[in-house]
């Protein structure tokens, strides 16, 4: 019954039709919220007592690393769906999401490095948080390289899914690295379960920026998956009809 339900709602055709309709909402909401969040954070949020204005990098850095991890988690769920229920849409979504994950992880690493120069006096440190995030970036590149190295796409999908599932162990490591090891990177300032150690005047623009970046990345994912699905399903009748 679960298998029938999953297969019914995971056809590439239904996905393309649905996401084409949702795209305008995500792109408009995403860009509007990013403009609001970043304007608020960069121009109106107060200066930090210790870090001065360099902390304003937080409004890009923190949302980037949050989505670097969330995209991988999403890929891991898709990988399980592909391996257990043979859902081919799930494999298409992994292949479409991996470059976006690599891109946003790079932005997270890059913004963190630049932030480190005035704050820590160094742009790089081999501490647990930064190193595990670099491993995440390498995982994204590895997944893309593995898929590209096979001419048999079904086999490539399967092996890519296995690698994604193996690599998911890195996500809790990134999350907990600042608690388990002594790191230069500060512990989390925001907590979903407990109280956040960040002032609301900085927290609200950060949340708006994070939601805005999330919507923007979803809209990028819609475009990326659309081109990949159409190219993989190009011999199907529904693709010819739509194009």
């Amino acid at each position: 019954m679960i298998t029938a339900f999953i297969h019914k709602f995971s056809s590439p055709k239904s996905f393309v039709i649905l996401t084409e309709k949702l795209y305008p909402f995500f792109i408009i909401a995403g860009v509007s919220m990013l403009i609001l969040g970043w304007t608020w954070g960069l121009l109106f949020a107060p200066q930090d007592a210790v870090q001065g204005n360099s902390y304003r990098i937080i409004f890009l850095h923190v949302p980037s690393v949050i989505f670097a991890e969330l995209i991988y988690f999403f890929m891991a769920v898709c990988a399980l769906m592909h391996l257990v229920w043979r859902v081919k849409l799930a494999a298409y979504l992994i292949k479409s999401a991996a470059p976006i994950g690599a891109m946003i992880t790079f932005i997270g690493l890059f913004s963190g490095s630049i932030w480190g120069i005035p704050t820590w006096g160094t742009w790089w440190q081999w501490d647990a948080r930064i190193t595990s995030t670099l491993i995440l970036f390498i995982m994204y590149l590895g997944i893309l390289t593995l898929h590209a190295s096979f001419s048999n796409l079904e086999k490539a999908d399967r092996l890519m899914s296995i690698l994604v599932v193996i690599g998911v162990v890195n996500i809790p490591l990134i999350k907990k690295s600042v608690d388990w090891w002594s790191t230069l990177h500060q512990p989390a300032s925001i907590s979903v379960s407990g109280s956040s150690s960040i002032d609301p005047s900085m927290l609200y623009p950060l949340l708006i920026s994070a939601i805005g970046l999330g919507f923007t990345l979803i809209s990028l994912g819609i475009l990326s998956s659309r081109s990949y699905i159409l190219s993989r399903e190009k011999n199907k009748k529904w693709v010819s009809e739509r194009v």
């Binding site: 960069l42 204005n53 360099s54 990098i57 890059f110 630049i114 159409l230």
Partner: protein, 58 residues
Amino acid sequence: MFNSTFNNFNEILDMGGHGIYVWSVYLIGISIIAISFLIAKKRIKEVHKKIKLKNASS
């Protein structure tokens, strides 16, 4: 909450000496995201073109 921290445009650019770090991060970050959108849109156009050519030839 909505009073600007800065008094003029130069202060916004300088950000107390941290402007070079803050603005370079946003400039490069936004550029990377924008380029990703352009690449994704270009790929859709290319795929559409290929499928149209295939349909025309068959």
